[in-house]
Amino acid sequence: MVATSHDVMPDIELYQPTDEASALALANTLGSDGWLLGGGQDTYGWLKDRNKTPAAMIELTQVDAWKGIRETADGVEIGAVTTITEIATNPLIQSKYALLSTAAGRVASPQIRNVGTLGGNLVQDARCWYYRRGLDCYRAGGNICYADSPEGLNREHALFGSSRCVAVSPSDTAPALVALDATMVVSSVGGQRLIAAQDFFVGPARDITHMTVLNEGEILTAVRIPNTWANAEFYFEKVADRNVWDFALVNVAAAFKVSGGTIEDVRIVCGAVECVPRRLDAVEDAIRGQQRSEQLAEEVASIASEGARPLNYNHFKVPLMENLVKRAIRG
């Protein structure tokens, strides 16, 4: 449907369950015909363009059980339909997990943060413009990638882990949650499963048409952040063309446990360089046990981009990624 500009919401049914059981039942019954609706900030464009044509929307934001931020025995649990603004401004998150509140504060624009949910930010679809235009590319179930070709416009695309599709993970909160060793709580009528944040996202090699491991009928209902990284030293930075709305060219989320200047443990995760948030294990290994310093940052930064396979127009992401890692280590 690329031939012409569509702009009006076509007929789509809407369900507004107010309890978990009916929401899960609806998700189960409707399967792929049911569109899970959080804040809708990555929904209405698809629908207005008629590039996605679900029969119905299941609004999740009326289910109180999936809202809000709760302190738990071993950390904090955030309901998946909690708004990004709430996370960015929540005192508990700000004090213990400032990495997440900072990242949340850099998402899109104030109004999008006011309505958009954490779950929506995590499961949002790829932002590759070819895909968004409704072209039948690999990610849309087709047999071609328009971005990964000699003349394709791939300035914003992946350095790593591309397999036919070169779209990147667009989320700002996802790298933060991976860095915080968060766990995703996924529910369905069949029960609940817990998935480590790192395993929640999926690249094109394993599933080219999805960004997460959620199956039909499953709903991301909460995110649990363990105490492990509470009050650690954090670093988040996002570099985007414009400072509002735009998705990261590269972002970095890092957590450090530092004692006497020595890095005891660390997590460094980059977004927008791969289809999933990219955990930089090699850098982590290289700096664990070392003194956190400018010099260390300089030494190990190049490890960050090892294995990068730049496309025609995204070579700049290599130094940018290295620089952001450098800045994270420098603190």
Binding site: E13, Q16, A55, A56, Q111, I112, V115
Partner: protein
């Protein structure tokens, strides 16, 4: 010769129509179809919404955006559509005091909430809201198309933070594009509104 829109287009379309529960019948456009074949549990079309302090009854299809309801059902055309994609802010309205893009929110999602638009800001005796007054005094608007959105964002901002610094105001207003580039003048307006408000 390349037929651009052959039979498959039609098939995809028909599939879409059937999927959306609105199989084309021969009577009064979509309304009958929508009304007759609604699955159980789906939202009721006839709703009452609180807009600018008034409760209004209105027939809203499940998929309708708030901006559409306001503009085309309630005649509140102050809320503008600049992009219809949440990329500009011209449609900003307040939902329970929170600035939100009217183009990117369903009317049904906010039917239990207080909706305020630019038309609802003046006092009963016709006095401009302090933000509006300040925007006039600073001549913040240029072409004016983004102005209702800027006004609503500013009102929302000042309700949450009555005395913002200029930097806080800038961050708070950031979800509104002004193609004329009047940001400086709008910020002057916000700061003045905070003074007179």
């Amino acid at each position: 010769m390349y037929p651009v829109n052959p039979k498959l287009t039609r098939r995809r379309f028909i599939k879409g129509v059937i999927a959306s529960g609105a199989a084309a019948t021969s009577t009064s456009i979509w309304y009958a179809a929508n009304g007759a074949e609604r699955p159980p549990g789906a939202v009721e079309r006839l709703i009452r919404i609180n807009v600018n302090g008034q409760v209004r009854s209105v027939d809203v299809p499940p998929q309708e955006t708030l901006a559409s309801t306001l503009r085309y059902k309630l005649g509140l055309t102050g809320t503008k559509l600049g992009c219809n994609r949440g990329e500009c802010g011209a449609c900003t309205v307040l939902v329970d005091d929170i600035p939100s893009y009217g183009c990117s929110i369903l009317t049904h999602s906010v039917k239990a909430m207080r909706i305020e638009t630019v038309e609802g800001l003046e006092s009963a005796n016709g006095d401009l809201h302090p933000v509006q007054q300040a925007f006039v005094e600073e001549l913040s608007p240029q072409c004016g198309y983004c102005t209702p959105g800027q006004v609503m964002a500013a009102v929302g901002l000042l309700r949450a933070n009555p005395n913002p610094t200029r930097e806080e105001a800038r961050q708070g207003m950031a979800g509104n594009i002004c193609r004329c580039g009047s940001y400086d003048s709008y910020l002057n307006g916000v700061m003045r509104a905070a003074e007179i408000g």
